[in-house]
């Protein structure tokens, strides 16, 4: 089984053919637009080459002859200027449109990738979520995809444009004057050498900066959380010393990357001027000897200067590409995470669910199946029981007995390692998860509310469920009264900024949420962590009495006060069913249930005890 998705494993390659191919699959549907954008890119790059040529013509055809003849010919100059302006305007249009088209494609591709990633996450089993913190997954879906977007828009395409410009400039220079061009190209080996050196240094330095920054982050995070320990053990000076060391390493790495940049930019500028100087020296002689014209020389100088911008850009992009590749690797690794709890290829369709539940010798562990026979590590050890349609059963047990695990299996959040869980005699693995969860409703005590309205939270954004159904269900569980008293009734926003509901009100919403689908089986998970006051207890009890009647119900209870009126109580202990019977039978038996009951006798509020006494 693959471990956690590691954060820090960064790719160093600027590109990876396999990853690139998977990425390209996302832009393939927009081939036409892509092609148009690329054509525009080529056009824009070509138009960039026109300027120096116009300067050449202006000097050779207008300025120099005019100077020689001493006459003023504005016509030619004006025509050239107008032509130049048109070229500029066309270049401007081409660049803008290219950028826009490219963004459209990239954004559609990213939206698709994000959705795919998210949908995949939805299908991943809870086992996966046990291993991977939510924050990291959110980063994958948001930031990593956004970084990838840069790869498309300012990375690959721009790099292609830069290469195109370089080739174009070289071709234009060769076309103008082969010998002059070759003289200017003398600096190219130096350009290559400097760029290559810079790339090597920058890659190393950037990586060091990132690593050191990650260390500083980790150290800060740990020490901010653990500051009381630092203070208790009076280790402030030592912690500061260690922080200093990290800070120093970070500074060293930063200074190294600064040095690489500070050498690279001026060096490139110098090489540019060197090329101009070479052109002046050799080309100047050629002009004087009449082999070439002044216009050609000036145009050559202009080309030589324009040559260096794309080179600089390309060197800069290297870092970006590296990061984007690391992001895409992380994204695809997540997409490759196997969906282990899957729907069967030929699911069994349940026509009418009666609501019979059976556990057949179920063994379950959260990690991989523990080695050895009946040893430790199992959360459930051979659990078997059957619940008849319409029967009300409670499952109780001491902390760690396996109650929550059992609930997780019944909803197929996990699959058992051994044995079977059956609904109406059909193994849960043979039916579609979606269908199963339609028929088996789950009420969490610790209610998770989504941001949205009360109605949204009851119907869980399912537009198939009408307002009338929502309200009817709320009335059924007795939530209608308090909801109507809220400022906007069913349309009141809950959550952080909205109205804060009491624990009891949240539970009623959860109950309504489960019942709005009218499931044949209801599982009520009464978690130990939820602090419930007497009033809430009463509210929920009241609501339950009304809705349970004909439904198969399994109450998984930590508090025994909720279970005394059920048909049958199952006592789970250390992963096994150890006792079974009614409240009175189990109490009389004096076993685990009796101990649990006595343990909880005190915290039950007096009001409830009395009320129960009356009944």
């Amino acid at each position: 089984m693959s471990g956690r998705l590691a954060e820090e494993e960064l790719l160093d390659r600027p590109y990876d053919r396999h990853l690139l191919r998977r990425l390209l699959a996302y832009v393939r549907p927009y081939r036409a637009t892509m092609t148009a954008a690329l054509v525009l890119l080529v056009l824009a790059s070509l138009l960039e080459l026109v300027g120096p040529q116009l300067y050449r013509i202006a000097i050779d055809r207008a300025l120099v002859p005019s100077l020689q003849r001493g006459t003023v010919d504005r016509g030619a100059l004006s025509t050239l200027a107008l032509l130049y302006l048109l070229v500029l305007a066309a270049g401007f249009g081409a660049r803008w449109l290219q950028h826009y088209l490219m963004q459209t494609v990239a954004q559609r591709a990213m939206a698709k990738l994000r959705s795919d990633l998210f949908s995949h996450l939805q299908r991943l089993p809870l086992r996966f979520y046990d291993r991977n913190p939510v924050g990291r997954l959110v980063t994958r879906v948001t930031n990593d995809v956004e970084t990838l977007n840069e790869l498309f828009t300012s990375g690959l395409v721009a790099a292609f444009g830069d290469v195109l410009t370089l080739v174009g400039i070289m071709a234009a220079m060769l076309w103008l004057d082969v010998r002059l061009a070759l003289v200017a190209f003398c600096v190219l080996p130096l350009v290559y050498g400097v760029t290559d050196r810079f790339r090597g240094q920058a890659r190393e330095a950037y990586r060091a900066v990132r690593t050191q920054l990650a260390r500083i982050n980790a150290f800060l995070n740990e020490h901010i959380i653990g500051m009381p320990v630092v203070q208790l053990f009076t280790q402030e000076a030592r912690a500061l010393g260690r922080f200093d060391a990290l800070n120093r390493d970070y500074l060293d790495a930063s200074l190294r990357s600064l040095a690489a940049l500070a050498r690279f930019y001026p060096a490139m500028h110098f090489l540019g001027v060197l090329a101009v100087a070479l052109l002046l020296w050799y080309g100047g002689g050629q002009v004087i000897r009449g082999v070439t014209t002044l216009g050609v020389l000036v145009a050559m100088i202009q080309y030589a200067e324009r040559f260096f911008e794309p080179v600089r850009e390309l060197a800069d992009k290297f870092n970006l590409l590296q990061q984007a590749m690391a992001s895409s690797e992380r994204i695809f690794r997540l997409l490759d995470e196997p969906v282990t709890v899957e729907d069967p290829p030929n699911p069994v369709r349940l026509e009418r669910v009666r609501g019979e539940i059976e556990f057949r010798d179920v063994w379950f562990a959260y990690g991989d199946a523990p080695a050895g026979g009946n040893g430790a590590g199992w959360a459930l050890r051979g659990v078997s029981f059957c619940i008849a349609p319409g029967e009300h059963v409670a499952l109780v047990g001491y902390t760690g007995a396996g109650k929550t695990s059992l609930c997780n299996l019944l909803l197929r959040f996990y699959d058992p390692q051994r044995g079977q869980v059956l609904l109406d005699g059909v193994d849960l693995r043979w039916m579609r998860q979606r269908e199963l969860r339609r028929h088996v409703g789950l009420v969490f005590q610790d209610t998770f509310l989504f941001s949205g309205t009360i109605a949204d939270n009851i119907r869980l954004f399912n537009s198939d469920i009408s307002d009338a159904q929502v309200e009817a269900t709320a009335r059924l569980v007795g939530a209608d009264r308090f909801i109507r008293q809220l400022p906007n009734g069913y349309q009141t926003e809950v959550g952080e900024r909205g109205v804060r509901l009491s624990a009891g009100q949240r539970q009623l919403v959860a109950l309504a949420r489960a019942l709005v689908y009218n499931p044949e089986v209801l599982v009520i998970l009464d978690e130990a962590t939820s602090s419930v006051d007497a009033e809430t207890e009463e509210l929920v009890q009241e609501a339950l009495r009304g809705v349970l009647r004909s439904r198969t119900t399994l109450i998984i209870a930590h508090r025994l006060s909720t279970v005394q009126h059920v048909d049958r109580i199952l006592v789970l202990h250390k992963g096994r069913i150890v006792e079974e019977g009614t409240h009175a039978q189990l109490l009389a038996r004096g076993g685990i249930y009796a101990k649990l009951y006595r343990l909880q006798a005190h915290p039950i509020p007096e009001g409830i005890l009395q009320r129960r006494g009356e009944r």
């Binding site: 050239l80 963004q103 979520y129 959110v138 101009v276």
Partner: protein, 577 residues
């Protein structure tokens, strides 16, 4: 006042800045010289006279000098800013080290981290790139314009306004870009929130088979984000082509008007080339002005956010005029101590004297105030009213160091550092004394576990100790406290995750160590408390019973009831199905 810290830092590095600016001036000077050489060369070529080698060498030499000086400028100024960043980050950490636990409750870790990393980088960018570019740009513009005017006033007046349109373009488009960018950010925030919420509530999503529907809801947000991004790109994509268009436009004007000037003989062809050089080299500084401005805005906002943290003074700090204790005996007294959180009292008038060398156990239901009481002793918490005294001296009058060196506190959920076990156990000890570590580990019953690890004491525990079991973590924390050899040992339910038998053995090994120390003990296992000199029962923040184990059992009060519960719990824990 609020920026003084940053100006002090600048002042500290003034040599670097001055050297950097000197180099900047030199490099600008060279940059201004090059067009003159070019002009001379072009005019020379046109007249057909040579000296080309001299021009070429001159141009190369000037460029080399410019490059070298520019290197010095970057290294000095940007290097100084990086150093300042490091120094302020150090100050910030030192400041955080002085903050009381309440501060860390109030401030989110992520927020503090963002300030220590992102905001500090924004400040660094301003102090480096911002200050460098600001001066460079200003000097460059002034000099270039002066020379351009010298060549031709009319040419300058006709081309320069076009260049000046560029900052205007940045201003107008920049505002719209920012607006659309904020929309993108807002939608990005909604998308993140949607993902965060969904993934946190994945159990509910799965329980109600809402995976596909949730995927659909996410898709809508995702597409909205893409649409916002495309809207942004429509304007953003305009910016650089537009700048290119304007720069090109200036070149066209130069050709058109300048060409005529050449033809009319007002300027030489060489001067036209020279002029075009000035114009070309002005473009970057002009573009940079907007950038410098935004660096300044971001830097200033970030400085303010940092100052906000720096301004906070800790509620718990060393007294100005501390009382010095030669040795700490370990007598603790609570005098009518009240503690409230948000106006809700947690401790109500605690009066308790613990003689040096005695063992006192605290018992009470959850929320009765046990941990609060214990946290008062090492001054992790301040009493709202009343006094806590150590050896008869109010804690507030003692140096924090004295108090904390005397106290070893082991909490229920201890925090370990992602370091080796040895380093963790030796954390508070004076030196990395190997014997001390092993002894402490022996008492804490940790040695067998350690020996089972492949790397023994050199095993690195994961982030916050996640690779250890709960019981191992607790025992490591106990060993860590013992290795310090404190006068006062506080065990706050410190062995709750250790099984009963191991706890028994640890207590047996601890007995000789505890005999000479003041010990405060909280445990949910009553058996642990039996040997205490006194048991104090807390309920609702008050002391409701105290006495020895037998006395309290006889009384049949809250303690007796808790004992009975404990007995049941133990029975359930040990009973095998």
């Amino acid at each position: 006042m609020s920026r003084s810290r940053f100006w002090t830092a600048l002042h500290r590095h003034r040599r670097r800045y001055l050297l950097g600016y000197a180099a900047a001036l030199g490099s600008i000077g060279m940059a201004q010289l090059a067009p003159w050489i070019l002009k001379a060369a072009v005019d020379g070529i046109q007249r057909g006279e040579g000296r080309l080698v001299a021009y070429a060498v001159g141009l190369g030499a000037v460029a080399l000098l410019e490059a070298a000086l520019s290197y010095v400028m970057r290294m000095q100024i940007l290097g100084a800013a990086l150093r300042i960043e490091t120094e302020i980050r150090r100050e910030l950490f030192q400041h955080l080290e002085r903050m009381d636990p309440a501060f860390f409750h109030r401030w989110q870790t992520g927020d503090l981290m963002a300030r220590a990393v992102n905001d500090l980088r924004a400040v660094q960018r301003f102090l480096g790139m911002g200050l460098m570019r600001a001066v460079h740009t200003a000097v460059m513009v002034v000099l270039s314009v002066a020379f351009m005017l010298h060549i031709s006033t009319s040419l300058t007046l006709s081309t320069l306004p076009i260049l000046l349109l560029i900052p205007g373009l940045f201003g107008i488009l920049g505002r719209e870009i920012r607006r659309r960018f904020e929309e993108v950010q807002a939608q990005f925030g909604r998308l993140s929130a949607r993902a965060q919420e969904n993934l946190s509530g994945i159990r509910v999503v799965k329980a109600f088979a809402r995976e596909e529907a949730e995927g659909e809801r996410f898709r809508q947000e995702s597409e909205a984000l893409s649409r916002a991004n495309v809207r942004l790109s429509r304007i953003q994509g305009l910016l650089w082509p537009a700048v290119g268009f304007l720069l090109g436009g200036a070149a066209v004007l130069l050709l058109w008007i300048g060409g005529e000037e050449v033809i009319r003989g007002r300027i030489s062809l060489g001067q036209l080339v020279q002029f075009s050089y000035y114009l070309a080299r002005l473009s970057f500084p002009v573009i940079a002005t907007g950038w410098v401005l935004s660096l300044w805005q971001q830097g200033r906002a970030s400085m303010e956010r940092l100052e906000e943290v720096f301004r906070i003074r800790p509620a718990i700090a060393d007294p100005e005029d501390p009382v010095r204790l030669e040795t700490v005996r370990g007598e603790i007294e609570f005098r009518d101590v009240w503690v409230s959180y948000d106006g809700r009292p947690v401790l109500r008038g605690i009066r308790l004297r613990i003689p040096a060398g005695s063992t006192v156990a605290l018992v009470g239901p959850t929320g009765s105030g046990k941990s609060t009481l214990l946290n008062l002793i090492p001054r992790l918490l301040l009493p709202t009213s009343g006094q806590v005294l150590l050896d008869g001296v109010d804690l507030r009058r003692l140096p924090l160091r004295t108090v904390r060196e005397a106290v070893g506190l082991v909490p229920q959920d201890p925090f370990l550092f992602s370091d080796t076990l040895r380093e963790n156990i030796a954390y508070g000890a004076d030196s990395g004394d190997g014997k001390r570590v092993v002894e402490a580990a022996q008492i804490a019953h940790l040695v067998q576990d350690v020996n089972a690890f492949p790397q023994g004491f050199e095993t690195v525990v994961g982030e916050q100790g996640v690779t250890l079991s709960g019981g191992q973590r607790q025992r490591a924390a106990l060993a860590r406290a013992l290795a310090r050899n404190p006068r006062i040992l506080i065990l706050d339910d410190a062995l709750s995750s250790v099984d009963a038998q191991t706890e028994e053995e640890i207590l047996r090994a601890l007995r000789p160590v505890l005999r000479s120390r003041t010990v405060l003990l909280v445990s949910h296992r009553i058996s642990t408390l039996r040997d205490a000199d006194r048991i104090v029962v807390l309920d609702g923040g008050r002391i409701v019973e105290q006495g020895t184990h037998e006395e309290l059992l006889r009384r049949g009060g809250l303690f007796a009831e808790l004992c009975e519960k404990q007995r049941l719990r133990q029975a359930l824990e040990t009973e095998e199905p």
